[in-house]
């Protein structure tokens, strides 16, 4: 497909053009941390850090989202249709996570057609979105997207791939939507052979900075064997169940629904929740199927590397490395995976 170029002096023109049709989200700094925020001009954007502190999932699945409001006259569903969203600066670890989340929220698991529950709040936002990815030229030491089929210049889940080539960006359409928008932009210009060579050089340079691959072909099998093993005591021993990994994770999508209101008036809100918290599964009787830390840590690992793959054929992890960065006790998922692959069974 055709590659075009956007000179950085014209970046604000580009943002203006895009704004005519879309609300634009891009990485920006909030309280010293980077996350995806609504922006109006290029000045608000900060893509210096390859991996934003908070993932892009919050654009389509906000940390807190009103499902409906109620009062004495009844219930009114919150407006699900919003102005189409364009995202600038999404790395492949986030764009790939959206494909994974869409399998959960966009459609439903192996259910007959009349039971395919779709999530209107996610679907309206995601289906109408336009995603400009941003290739990683300098992957971080915590990056391991290549373990799961991603890569610093991988374009899965993007509509337009973008490479930062110094004074200019190189755009390449990935989807039909991406082709359409590139055709409409007046701020972009044609590329030269040199530009293409530059793109290839940046990609191969970034690839060379990625960690060696880990053979994960036995992972599902290993996990099914290890369910009752002591390995979970060892892995969870230092975990304090703070949930930082789940909140920063681009693929974690568990939520709670809570009512806020008084005097017969209020709203039901969906908020991010975490399998790390004991109350997550606590039943009214007091019975808790995942009362222990080892059970909760096991659940998180099993969900990502065994259960989700069983249901959808792909691991629910994009190797963004955020959980490695934020964990207060340095519980490193890469080490956990290595341990799982090499652990010798003791029980049964």
């Amino acid at each position: 497909m055709k590659m075009v170029r956007l000179d950085k002096q014209k970046f604000d023109d580009f943002i203006r053009e895009l704004s005519a049709e879309y609300s634009i989200f891009a990485p920006g700094i909030v309280g010293g941390k980077t996350e995806f925020i609504p922006i109006e001009s290029g000045e608000q954007i900060d893509t210096a850090r390859q991996v934003t502190d908070m993932s892009a999932k919050g654009i389509f699945f906000p940390p807190s989202e009103v499902l409906f409001e109620y009062d004495k006259d009844g219930i009114r569903a919150a407006e699900t249709s919003v102005r189409p969203i364009a995202v600038w600066g999404m790395r492949n670890c986030d764009s790939r996570s959206l494909i994974m989340l869409d399998r959960v929220f966009g459609s439903a698991m192996q259910m007959p057609d009349d039971k395919k529950f779709q999530d209107p709040y996610w679907k309206e936002k995601y289906d109408n979105s336009l995603i400009f990815g941003l290739a990683c030229n300098e992957p971080l030491s915590t990056c391991f997207c290549n373990w799961f089929g991603g890569g610093p210049h991988n374009t899965d889940g993007m509509d337009v791939s973008v490479i930062d080539a110094g004074d200019f960006f190189l755009f390449e359409p990935v989807s039909d939507k991406g082709s359409d928008i590139i055709g409409k932009l007046s701020s972009v210009t044609d590329t030269s052979e040199e530009d293409k060579a530059m793109a290839e050089k940046l990609a191969s340079n970034a690839e060379s900075m990625m960690p060696p691959l880990l053979d994960l072909s036995d992972l599902g099998e290993r996990l099914s064997v290890l369910f009752d093993e002591h390995i979970w005591d060892e892995i969870s021993a230092k975990c304090i169940n703070c949930g930082a990994c789940t909140f920063s994770c681009p693929t974690c999508h568990c939520f709670d629904m809570q009512d806020e209101g008084r005097d017969g008036k209020g709203k039901r809100v969906r908020i991010w929740d975490s399998c790390m918290f004991p109350i997550f599964t606590m039943e009214a009787s007091g019975h808790n199927p995942r009362a222990l830390s080892r059970e909760r840590v096991r659940q998180r690992v099993m969900h990502k590397y065994s259960y989700y793959p069983e249901n959808y054929g792909e691991i629910l992890c994009t190797g963004c490395g955020r959980c490695v960065m934020v964990c207060p006790v340095n519980l490193d998922i890469r080490e956990v995976l290595r341990k799982i692959l090499t652990y010798k069974e003791q029980v049964r």
């Binding site: 698991m109 259910m111 529950f117 568990c254 709670d256 017969g264 599964t281 009214a284 659940q299 259960y307």
Partner: protein
């Protein structure tokens, strides 16, 4: 696009009290909106989320049978903030409802078979639905045997109906309580033990088990011992279901979500799933 998060409005049309301590109450709910009533199709074993606006939602098995009438019946144990508020409802009050959710007992497969129903405590709700459903087309099924246990005589739900079912000659109804008490003329002992005593024949029989986790855990091996193959043992499991539509992530056992893949599972399905009860 339909929005599965929005509760339908239901009106309380009847309230019954099941136990002397009044912790178990039964509510019949009717649809406020006629078109929603028409669209609502369910089978025994399914559940709903009942919604108290301002407090939240809790999942309850549907205790009525679709063959019964225009109401949905739920028995609610007063144990948390939502169930506490449900207990304050009066006739004519409005409550939110989302459903029907989950799958159902294999009612079509039961035709021409003997049916063994095993229940414990106030988990008898969806089993009541099933039993009524079977009795309403009694000729479609062969022998029907029920084993129902509770901690003490007070804690059986649907006592009036049990008295009627016990009179019928086309249902074998066994009641059991944990420990003997004066004036109790039925069986005593835990459900697994009583199942062993009653020893229902596995011949052309489907077993349906629903009760507290501990009861299920010890009853399933008894059925296996009696000769029931895994494909003919069904149980209904429970977790803290919130969204009810397979998204919120808390009710899974292994790769299955109780709310959409269950709550009804056969033993054969559960064999490969870790941590089932």
């Amino acid at each position: 696009m339909s929005n599965s998060y929005i509760p339908l409005q239901m009106k309380v049309s009847r309230i019954g009290t099941e136990d002397p301590a009044r912790t178990l109450r039964t509510y019949d709910l009717t649809f406020v909106n006629e078109s929603e009533k028409e669209a609502f199709k369910y089978l025994p074993g399914q559940f709903c989320e009942l919604s108290i606006l301002g407090k939240g939602e809790s999942p309850f098995g549907i205790a009525s049978s679709p063959t019964e009438g225009d109401y949905l019946r739920f028995t609610v144990n007063r144990t948390g903030s939502v169930t506490n508020d449900i207990h304050y409802l009066r006739n004519g009050d409005i409550i939110g409802m989302r459903g029907p959710l989950g799958n159902w007992y294999p009612v079509d497969d039961l035709k021409g078979m003997n049916v063994l129903i095993i229940g414990g405590g106030f988990a008898f709700t969806t089993l009541r639905s099933l039993l009524i459903y079977l009795l309403d087309s009694r000729d479609d099924y062969k022998d029907i045997t029920v084993i129902y246990g509770a901690r003490n005589p007070d804690l059986f739900i649907y006592k009036d109906e049990i008295a009627i079912w016990k009179q019928r000659d086309d249902v074998q109804f066994h009641l059991t309580i944990d420990k003997p008490v004066d004036g109790w003329n039925d069986k005593t002992g835990f459900v697994p033990t009583v199942t062993q005593e009653v020893a229902p024949s596995p011949e052309n029989t489907m077993a349906i088990v629903c009760g507290p986790p501990i009861m299920i855990k010890y009853t399933l091996p008894v059925l296996t011992e009696l000769g029931f193959p895994d494909e003919r043992i069904y149980t209904s499991l429970e977790r803290r279901m919130k969204c009810g539509i397979g998204k919120c992530g808390r009710c899974n056992i292994g790769s299955k979500y109780i709310c959409i893949d269950g709550p009804v599972f056969s033993m054969a399905e559960l064999k490969n799933i870790p941590e089932m009860v």
